[in-house]
Symmetry: D3
Subunit: 319 residues, 6 copies
Amino acid sequence: MFVSRDNYEKKADKYVRLHGTIEFAGGGSFEDVVETFRNAGIVPEEAYSGINYGGTIHDHSELDRVTRAYIDAVIKGKKLTKSWKKGFNGIIDAYYGNYPETFTYKGISYTPKSFAQSLGLNMDDYVGITSFTHHPFYRPFVIEVPDNYIWGLNYNVTIDELIEIIDNSIEKGYTIAWGADVSEKGFQHRKGIAVMPDMELNNLQGTDRERWEGLSKTELETEILKFDKPVTELKITQEMRQEAFDNYETTDDHGMHIVGVAKDQNGAKFYKVKNSWGTDNSEYSGFFYVSENYVRYKTMNILINKNSIPEIIKRKLGL
Amino acid sequence: MFVSRDNYEKKADKYVRLHGTIEFAGGGSFEDVVETFRNAGIVPEEAYSGINYGGTIHDHSELDRVTRAYIDAVIKGKKLTKSWKKGFNGIIDAYYGNYPETFTYKGISYTPKSFAQSLGLNMDDYVGITSFTHHPFYRPFVIEVPDNYIWGLNYNVTIDELIEIIDNSIEKGYTIAWGADVSEKGFQHRKGIAVMPDMELNNLQGTDRERWEGLSKTELETEILKFDKPVTELKITQEMRQEAFDNYETTDDHGMHIVGVAKDQNGAKFYKVKNSWGTDNSEYSGFFYVSENYVRYKTMNILINKNSIPEIIKRKLGL
Amino acid sequence: MFVSRDNYEKKADKYVRLHGTIEFAGGGSFEDVVETFRNAGIVPEEAYSGINYGGTIHDHSELDRVTRAYIDAVIKGKKLTKSWKKGFNGIIDAYYGNYPETFTYKGISYTPKSFAQSLGLNMDDYVGITSFTHHPFYRPFVIEVPDNYIWGLNYNVTIDELIEIIDNSIEKGYTIAWGADVSEKGFQHRKGIAVMPDMELNNLQGTDRERWEGLSKTELETEILKFDKPVTELKITQEMRQEAFDNYETTDDHGMHIVGVAKDQNGAKFYKVKNSWGTDNSEYSGFFYVSENYVRYKTMNILINKNSIPEIIKRKLGL
Amino acid sequence: MFVSRDNYEKKADKYVRLHGTIEFAGGGSFEDVVETFRNAGIVPEEAYSGINYGGTIHDHSELDRVTRAYIDAVIKGKKLTKSWKKGFNGIIDAYYGNYPETFTYKGISYTPKSFAQSLGLNMDDYVGITSFTHHPFYRPFVIEVPDNYIWGLNYNVTIDELIEIIDNSIEKGYTIAWGADVSEKGFQHRKGIAVMPDMELNNLQGTDRERWEGLSKTELETEILKFDKPVTELKITQEMRQEAFDNYETTDDHGMHIVGVAKDQNGAKFYKVKNSWGTDNSEYSGFFYVSENYVRYKTMNILINKNSIPEIIKRKLGL
Amino acid sequence: MFVSRDNYEKKADKYVRLHGTIEFAGGGSFEDVVETFRNAGIVPEEAYSGINYGGTIHDHSELDRVTRAYIDAVIKGKKLTKSWKKGFNGIIDAYYGNYPETFTYKGISYTPKSFAQSLGLNMDDYVGITSFTHHPFYRPFVIEVPDNYIWGLNYNVTIDELIEIIDNSIEKGYTIAWGADVSEKGFQHRKGIAVMPDMELNNLQGTDRERWEGLSKTELETEILKFDKPVTELKITQEMRQEAFDNYETTDDHGMHIVGVAKDQNGAKFYKVKNSWGTDNSEYSGFFYVSENYVRYKTMNILINKNSIPEIIKRKLGL
Amino acid sequence: MFVSRDNYEKKADKYVRLHGTIEFAGGGSFEDVVETFRNAGIVPEEAYSGINYGGTIHDHSELDRVTRAYIDAVIKGKKLTKSWKKGFNGIIDAYYGNYPETFTYKGISYTPKSFAQSLGLNMDDYVGITSFTHHPFYRPFVIEVPDNYIWGLNYNVTIDELIEIIDNSIEKGYTIAWGADVSEKGFQHRKGIAVMPDMELNNLQGTDRERWEGLSKTELETEILKFDKPVTELKITQEMRQEAFDNYETTDDHGMHIVGVAKDQNGAKFYKVKNSWGTDNSEYSGFFYVSENYVRYKTMNILINKNSIPEIIKRKLGL
């Protein structure tokens, strides 16, 4: 919540400076966390829950509405007062609680900055990686998604190299922050699985084909999505992922953690991913398995430790 | 500014309760002052200037915009949080400065309430009077103007009686708080005069008529409004003032103080009025003279001490 | 329909005078009926059905739309004509039929006023009662709900006293006009019941608890709302009803009639209420039973005969 | 005003049938008059002034606003009532006075239809003529201007033929109803003149050129528009008038009457035109002179008696 | 698609000329086809599929949005450029492919006009017929539906005569283009049937009545719409079809083809109709049966060969 | 115009990718030129005037309207077609003329890229410099102005250093691209001067003070802005320029060229600046003189050749 609060204030400042020509919404990106950590420090959730409005769940809709309305009213002015930012902070304080100048965590007193320091992490070790063809490979660029209000840079590699980086990271014992679109039909959090099934009967073979022959398109889709046996997947190319990004099919990204790798009974590669959506409605207590094809198709970007990048790619990126 | 601040908060509360179906704007009425004095106390302007946004003049436009936007965003909710009011006060604090729980005035420390008490005024002595025919006479009613968000009551008398009350007050040494429409052409603050000139050539007589014979309607109006000699006025009836109220010509009211009475060279009665618009561009250093006809036509209401009402009217009103 | 028609015209007049800063919608309040009866008289539905647009059911949506659009267009003017009100009445006449200057009912010819007189009711005997803490007790105030466009006053008592007044009325043989929010899940018109079930498993005891142990929150709610046996109710306090009013949970009020009192098998007190929603889909032919807790929580106000108020409360109210 | 009232009702009906996809505004066309005369009859202005809203001037703005708002609210319905048209007429009655079923004019009692008959005019003798190249010549078409809500047909001829028809009409003693754009700088009602001056210095010759050499473009324009001597005009072609129609420069049309022809000192042809804008601010008591070039450029259409068309053109039109 | 493309351009031109006061949407009317055929020629779908945007199905929503937005932006100008139309065509080219100046069909090269000529159809043989009482019978008028942007004329006959014309056409071997509202509950494309069932129990008789006695209105409707046996229909009169047109129940028209006539087991007359909605979900492979009552009630208009009209009606129409 | 065209297309692409959350307008920044030169090449204005819409002046308003409307309609889609970009280019072609794949300039045939190469400029030599305190000095950042849609980076130095860089550039014979706010009262293009006069009488001295004693604030301003003698200027600090940027007073930037330096009769330093607004209304044939104070206050950024930066600053910037 500390990151969220910090970004609310930064977003408001940038929104006003840019006369409203950026996204002002609840979402964010990995770079937000990195920047807050770097500049403002960090506070553990136990020490700053940011819940201050008469409930235990973060219902951001009223806060989103009033902050947006407020800054939209500010930018209508010809000349701004010096009070508007103080007023904005007054709203934030009301909904999140006052800024935690100092706090106590496990018996020790911290400021956000001293707590960040105590964690021993160097933000300069972390780097974002993505893979799109509308920018040249091996140079950083700002991914054009509205939530990336912070204009954070990501290095651009081929999708094969991106997979290579992930695999190398896991091997070296690093986890990977994974931003991906989770709106596909094949992403089924409850079933603990995310795949890109090929739903075209003509592409299927053998028993699958026999079993489903004669089904209508909708019936076929329903059958496949039952996931009662391994599905035949689409083979995802660089072009396919680019097209899905260009035509808005890949937009709704969400941050998760890749923590391991596994194979199914047919030897297909899956990544083990930790999600923040709770363990209640989850087949594998908060984890799920994502096929390599899903990762190739729907990854927006990853945030990794520089040291986990294979040397040859590192050199291409000039890191 | 203390009254203004107090009413901002009360107005926001009422606006939200009523789902936006009252006026939310800067304006107000005499009843606002009375109610604030009665319930929250009062603070002299020297002790709480309420200027907190980087200038010395109260430019309310940004404040008006952001507060209105904020509460309009609040009322869009299905279920409100408990934080919204705190957030609203955060805005008000940013623009007015924090609430003056205590303050020092001429060396003495006060709270708003103790200062109000120190003035020795009893708000129950004050009563509002108006004169309209769309409600029965001699009973109080809520004047239907948007600024009267507080739904304050005024006693209804005939316009002749209203003039009688004013005259009686002056005679007894009371001043009168006067709410009136100041948007008429005959209201000329710079020239220190407010009259209701009859601009119909056919109604004029003698030298006036000779002098202006042959002028177009616009030229005639320009000549008359020079006010280089006393003008012939319209005789205002109860019907005329009602019609002007009904058709929106009388809406834009402003609060002033009637402090005396005078006659011009022709014996026409004028009231001496104190205005808050400063002395710079004013013929008579902040005072001006209003004809009885103007008062009859354009008075929205008056606020007076009960004791200044003639006994016979007082009885009709049941006071 | 006569009351509805009368209020359409009054509402339009007030809306225009206030430049649109009141609610203009179909809803209303008890005070509307009282005021129409007092000033314009009354007409039985058989004598003035107000159906004039090619159907037998009152579909107000077109009428609501055109009247609202019409007056919104009127108030955009700087200076109004005298024709607008006649035009408004022309619309009302088209949808309701002409104003019933005279009508015949059971063989006798009446005007609305003479019919009202014939009923022998004195409107001054009726008084509204409510119970909220944002105004002082024992003094009347205007309940801040949009439908209360008429700014009708209600006396404020504690919720215990309000229940006392209802009970006393029933005992003395009076019925009570009851305005309440009917949007709660526990209000089930078809099942003829309205209660405030406690849906928190931890608050339940004995067999209930056993029976429902292991159900998800949604399943539990479904089970409880089957109403196949008496439910454990929330105990409603003054604070709870105030919070529900403040946060918009109690807003959607509807007028009904409390006609009696009853107890269920466990001795819990229920009021017998007559509703206007027809007998077709109703367990008890148009009547239903409301628990005291529901009344405590969701009552907006009641309209009662002064004589039915216990003496001690009457004195507190100065009646 | 009778025509205006009749068209308000017809326009509302058509607007509703077409779900709002026509212009609904105060303007109209010659065909409106012809159609009203043909179907509903006519009433002289003395007998039906249509002024019913507390003034002597037709201020249509409130009426325009409320009628437009009303029908826009009607068409939002999925299924309309039968009452909406009655309500619309109620509004029209309020602003125009009731429909003149019968009226007395110069001592004789008429209905609108009987009065129309008494005038001895046969509407079938009248025909509209225009000249544009986006439709084939010599066939009628609906001129695409929003005011032509009635979809009235005009015969299409070359601009030379249109001038020929006007000249022939005047010669034969007929007047011509002339619809033209009056928003050009060269149209100066006060000066009693309408021309299309050539404002390009390079196109000027002799003394003009000498006199104005060295003036800026704006100064030159000001000098020319003084009209203190005959101006050099643009020679208007068919292409020029088409371009001005296509690019919205010719849109704002107004109905006048061509009553004669004249020559200026240089022999340039002018038409004498009667305008309805009053005689007060008019050089020639309500008449003014329009150059042939202005007529060629800015004529939308004319309405004439068939008999005034030269035979050879008449044959081309199949009349 | 060629017709669709041609009408997009014509509609844009007319919309701009009329400053937006016509419908600009995807729909159209029979007259659109006739006019395109007459003026621009025709191209078979195989030769100009007009699919140019990365899919095989015509998803017009993006095209509709961008073209509407474009022309709405154009008409906001005071003076238009000459470029707007070229820009509009640039959009159309992008979505439909370039204009097919020439194309090859079955080995022969055509222009749209030469192909139209090769078909040997004379558009002057075709005439639209409708039946409404808000215009006089036997004269053509423009049906007031938004899709009829082309202001195409239809001849007006009684509904009995319209049926007579259809029957005569079928008998003579002509098919009939049929425009009708298909939004009725009794229009069931899947079941291959369109009827106007009488859903009022009181109007039913014999076994039906017995069978359904005791059902609620909704249950009754569900039972009847199962269409498991012939239903009792409403007898449709001229007044009923007019009322449905006047109150917006008949608006949503769709073009189909009447190709034959049939009787059901009870001898009721049905028309065999070909629909363009595909054969997949259709009881009778793309055909369905429409009762005469449905045709009487819901026909907007028909387009037929003049020669198929009975002589006596032809004479009334002056054809 | 080639740069303008190139940026229209890039801006549309970015706007669509970002779902509309950047500015889409005619304006731009120095980085736009640099990027177009680098990636697409350049075309001299004589070879590609980009005027294609029936006039000789670039009236961008229609083009701005239609392109904005078009892309706003595109981004409303859930899934985009591949046609939208082609349609956008169709619009651009219509207004600018087709893309100049090749062109002839001074007898030689070029492509945009070959022409760029022929100029012998290396874009990597150019760097943007600015001076604001809301970012750390000596590191590049993206200036938050809406026109900077390209998110171009500028190096941040103190305002003293920025002046030093300008002075060094002029000395070394380089010109400086200067982006500045030109909306100040002291910026008077016609008079060929831009200064920041101190308008506070109390700050003035000697004869000025005597001369203007007694003038009102407005009169004083008028006198000073006559510029008939050198004015006393405000001394601009880093804080003042930051405040003006923060409160929206410095926003409206415009690109010009600093070409030299000069002193006035009092020895005050002025820069000689070339403006693109034409020579007609200009005191010094298209040039004007800007005081150092104006440059300090109102400079948004400069674009310069790296080699013109003093060594010591260059090192701070890491260049």
